[in-house]
């Protein structure tokens, strides 16, 4: 766990936006694990990299296992992806938007 005086904005150099949309359920994975690369990473990125290495993980999952806020996780994932060390699975073709909309409408009725 990071020391409490290390504020979250320092971990991301103040950035909150990512180059590509990273949703909570976006899956990321490590294509080729590189131990040397891992050892050179900052602690947060290293834990994240190690966790994503075993299997494809969602952003939300990584945030939880690494003990980082979602905002920080997103930027760390994005930075790793920018170096091609992390693969972001962006295909949302299997998402049926009509189904989701109907689901949403149904939930609204319930609420």
């Amino acid at each position: 766990m990071t020391y409490w005086k290390v504020r979250p904005y320092v971990l991301t150099a103040g950035r909150t936006r990512t180059r590509q949309p990273l949703l909570v359920h976006t899956l990321v994975s490590v294509p080729h694990y590189d131990a040397v690369f891992a050892s050179a990473l900052l602690p947060e990125a290293r834990t994240l990299y190690e966790h994503a290495r075993r299997a494809a993980r969602s952003v939300a999952e990584l945030s939880a296992v690494c003990g980082m806020s979602l905002g920080v996780t997103r930027v760390v994932v994005d930075d790793l992806a920018a170096t091609d060390r992390l693969l972001i699975h962006t295909d949302h073709h299997n998402v049926d938007f009509r189904l989701l909309e109907r689901l949403r409408d149904g939930l609204r009725k319930l609420a």
Binding site: Y3, W4, R7, Y9, G14, T16, P43, L70, G71
Partner: protein, 350 residues
Amino acid sequence: MRIMASAYQMGSHLEAVEADEQDPDRLERLYRIDHANTRIRRHAENLQVLLGRRVEDANPQTVPLVDVVRAASSAVEHYPRIRMGHVLDLAVVEFAADDVIRVLTELLDNATRFSPPTAPVIVSAFITEDGGVLLRIEDAGVGLHPDHVAQLNALLGGRPLSPAATLDPAAHLGLAVVAHLAGSHRLRVTLTNRPSGGTTATVLVPGALLCEIPTPAGPDPATPSPVWPPPPRPVPGQAGVPIPPPPAWPPPPIAGGTDPWSTPMATPPDSTHAPTVRLATLGGQAAEPQPSGGLPRRVPTSVRDDPAAAPPPPADPGAGSPPEAWPDETAAFAAGVSDARTTSDEGPQR
């Protein structure tokens, strides 16, 4: 003090909100508030230092150098320009970590403030041959006035400014904080101009203030340490090593109660670290028994030495208790021993 406490509070509230915020814009604004609050905290802490008070840290802990650097950056206005160079995997011990962070904060603040707004400030940490760590902050600023370098280094070295000094002490409050903290922890802080332009600030942290980075499990035992002794206690029992001392000790508690094992007197305050494995394995003949809360476990093993250990009690308690209590004590002691024997038969022993 109150400003500091409020800033600490606000910091923890902000952290909770930041963790929940999913909107990048709002998160960015929260970061700005957090950043401002962190700087308020820093200035409040610095005032304490300048007043000669020690800044109390509610939860001191060993901090890895990487985190020392980042914690220091957190309170610097232009923190995004700070780049981390090579920082080795060591940590600063808990009683000094916060002060090293404060020192580094002020030096980083100077470096970022007096260098071009686009130029990075690089901070790195190297080990020195005498086991200390050299923190190095390099900026690409205009550098210091040659006259001032010597004066500032004198200030940082804890020497009073000479009357001829052209420095305005009020303009260097940050360095005054650094000098103060450096003095109390024997840090060596120096500023040098680089011929190529820019200034390098170095902090030499003595080896005594350094340690290995605690493993993830490490920081936890630090807080619940009172909880930790119990787990090892079963071990002496399992070891099955005869420990003669305990039988000598039940008598005093017996005088006060019928159940020797539940008597609070059986656990003097100094006994918390007594029941170690080492005592059980090495201290078989130890003359100074350390009674403890672990008695129920340890006594079964002592029963083996019963014939040898039983005699001492008559001599012992006589000194500490009135003679009329004596028969009761022996009876209770015998009861205790038989109790112990039964428990040992059911046996945690094997």
